[in-house]
């Protein structure tokens, strides 16, 4: 029997009785922090991964994504840059991975990494869309250029007939019944720099001509036809999405070219859908399948996590992306999350796909349209 020992007034034991509960709280808290990725303990080292990103920075700058990656031992240090600048960046090789938004930049990056480590991952996709406000979408509908896609009394998604939309470009919004004397044109980021701006050029080019151009001369000629539609907006802005969603969004742009995920993420953050802001989907789409191109084993690891990690993939859906499997198949999570939030299914993938011209021709067209370089 060891009973007496319990009765003894032992100062060490008294200290422990006082100390144990707070200690337990400390330890429990630390464990929680370590597991959720708020801090890294001495037990695991954190690898800092340097990346260069275009619009997809919104994924890696998300607090929850940061925590999930931290819990896996990675801290991603983001340098934001437009896709085209990314592909031409002189210090490309100093990054662990890059994540341009579109195919031209993807090809350019791979060409520059010829013979070196360059592993592509395609974890998700998101289409380029034209975001606008209800009254502008309705004005376009009355003018015959847009058709509501969902059956709601206040639809969020419209199909946009680009031929008819481009035909309106010499009219003012006031001609369509709104109090705004500006020309009816879309505003986009600089096509010289950003993929979404370049994509708009691609949309217009496809609307003007059914077959993709086959030569530099054809690319230049088509570029000159597209140019007035892009030039009317004057100086192009940067990424349009953050400003579009503030209360003075109309004063930034009434039609802003952006990615669907930026809009969906905004809607999913809200308790009730914002029915004032809507999307126009060009009837002929080409989808942006951003590629994470890894240059190092650390980059490969992030790519694999993006493809496999259930938490990261769930978060990607919450941030508005359509996740893709290893063989490019879409999964059902996107539709489920959208529906749960009371949003209709966007018309992605239902319309015809437009082939973009070969990178070389497309780049020349962009140079003509945007007076690049």
């Amino acid at each position: 029997m060891q009973e007496p020992e319990f009765r003894a007034v032992d100062p060490r034991r008294r200290f422990l009785l006082w100390f144990a509960p707070p200690l337990a709280v400390f330890v429990a808290g630390l464990v929680v922090l370590l597991v959720t990725g708020h801090v890294t303990g001495p037990f695991r080292s954190t690898t800092v991964v340097r990346v260069m990103l275009a619009s997809k920075r919104e994924f890696f700058q998300d607090e929850q994504v940061k925590q999930i990656l931290m819990a896996r031992g990675y801290q991603v240090h983001v340098t934001p840059v437009g896709s085209r600048d990314l592909a031409e960046s002189p210090d490309l090789d100093s990054y662990h991975f890059v994540f341009p938004s579109g195919h031209v930049a993807n090809e350019r990056v791979k060409a520059r990494r010829e013979g070196k480590h360059a592993v592509p991952f395609r974890p998700f996709f998101t289409p380029v869309v034209l975001a606008t406000f209800r009254e502008h979408a309705e004005a376009l509908r009355r003018a015959g250029a847009a058709v509501a896609h969902d059956n709601n009394a206040a639809p969020l998604f419209y199909d946009l007939d680009l031929d008819k939309f481009m035909a309106l470009s010499e009219q003012r919004w006031s001609d369509l019944g709104l109090s705004n004397n500006n020309l009816v044109v879309a505003q986009s980021p600089d096509p010289c720099k950003a993929y979404s701006g370049a994509a708009l050029v691609g949309f217009y080019a496809a609307a003007l001509r059914d077959e993709p151009v086959q030569s530099l001369r054809e690319a230049e000629e088509l570029g000159l036809l597209v140019k007035p539609h892009i030039a009317a907006q004057g100086q192009a802005g940067e990424d349009m999405s953050p400003k579009f969603f503030v209360p003075e969004g109309r004063t930034h742009a009434v039609i802003a070219v952006m990615y669907e995920h930026q809009y969906i993420a905004y809607q999913l953050r809200r308790e009730q859908p914002d029915r004032d802001r809507v999307l126009l989907y060009p009837t002929a789409q080409h989808q942006s399948t951003p590629e994470l191109i890894s240059f190092t084993p650390e980059g490969d690891r992030i790519g694999e996590l993006m493809m496999n990690d259930p938490q990261l993939r769930r978060r990607a859906v919450e941030l508005g992306f359509h996740p893709l499997g290893w063989s490019g198949e879409t999964d059902q999570d996107f539709g489920r999350v959208i529906t749960e939030h009371g949003l209709p299914q966007p018309p992605v993938g239902q319309a015809g796909r437009v082939p973009l011209p070969k990178a070389e021709f497309f780049e020349r067209m962009l140079d003509v349209v945007g007076d690049c370089r």
């Binding site: 060490r12 109090s179 004397n181 500006n182 020309l183 009317a232 907006q233 004057g234 503030v246 004063t251």
Partner: protein, 478 residues
Amino acid sequence: MRVVAAVLLLVLTACTSSSPPPVRLRVLASPELVDLAPVLAELRRATGVELAVEHRGTVEASRSLAGFDLAWLSSNRFLRLRGAEPALSASIMTSPVVLGVRPGRRAVLGERPTWADVADRAAVGEFRYGMADPRVSGGGMAALIGVATAAAGTGAALRPEDVSCDRLQGFLAGRAFDVPDPVAELVRRSSDDTVDGVVAHESELLALNASGRLPEPLELVYPRDGIVLSDYPLMLVDPARRTAYDRVVDWLRSPPAQRMIAERTWRRPVDPAAPRDRRLTADIGTALYFPDRQEVLDRLLVFHDRAGEGRQVVFVLDYSTSMRGERITALREAFASLTGFDRFYVGETVTIVRFAGTVLEERSVTVRGRADLDALLAVVASDDLRDNTAIWGALDHALRLARGETAVVLMTDGENNAGPSVDEFLRVGRGEVPVYPIRFGEADRAELDRVAQASGGRLVDAGTTSLPQAVREIRGCR
């Protein structure tokens, strides 16, 4: 056990005491950002980053960011025009460029004026305002672009060929002062009732109203079109300061900082979720498409610098009998319809020379207000038509009246049949005064064109374009 506890405590302190070392960054900022002092003090407490700020007007600052770690200007658009925009740039807050108007003078501008309406009132001396120098300040430049875009009326971004000086002259004629800090100047002149308002950022005007420094708060007028919204991007100039820059941007975009910016500086937060005062929810109207060429801004400044008193326009009008009927009516209508800022503007001297076989009447007015314009219309209304047409004699007379920067507009429908011939007229050196003949009826196209070309002016054919349109074109200056 105690050892374990001590180790754990050490680990925990190691985790929590990782606050970054203090950093000092040199920042070039727009002058109106002096009001950020309390926000920057809080930034320093929260992040350890001290911003040592030097203030310089946005347009001036955009010429060179050399020597600074960061730049925080009302806009990066001026840098982008020069191809000098730093790669990293994050918008922190916004504020539109608007008009602050004394309540007693508010009615002059009408219900929801456009920039064109403002220029119109300014041109006839009914609205006098202060603004910042557009060669230095983003706010001043924004106002010029707004007026010029509204005047061009293309619904698209301004091109160099859209910038016409008279339209700007009309607006600038109403400028009472042109100083680096127009809001402070307005306060200094609060008892001077010849100043009706000021062009400035919404934030500066709301702060002024809240400060009680004016006997009566200003009314804010948001021009219906052509709004320029400053978005205050914080830009990384020296890439080596990236880590500290990221800390500053993260903090400034955090909800508490966004709230503080809205509450203390009256700027609109960029975080859609940030709460805002009722006054920061006013609808701010349609933006203008911002020009994409530096040349446009340069041209605006050329015309801006030319503004001022001493300009003169001489109209030489044919009152020969062949003008009777439709033609003289068209001429009068053209004058009457010179509305808005295509009209004459305050400070300008307008001379009308009526002629037939000789000079019939000459009247000069230096425009101070509407009454002067009515006097001019009375001259044009004359029914005193006479025989013969001495075009070159009348033009010679007009050119002798020219003082300083002058343009001459000649309207005629007939052939010269009195006084000197065109050859005799051209034999004499005529200096720098451009002549803009407006031809209608049987006037000799070749002769008029010769004189226009020789003087540096241009022939306008009233047959191919409407007369008011022709006059407006000419008023577009050279």
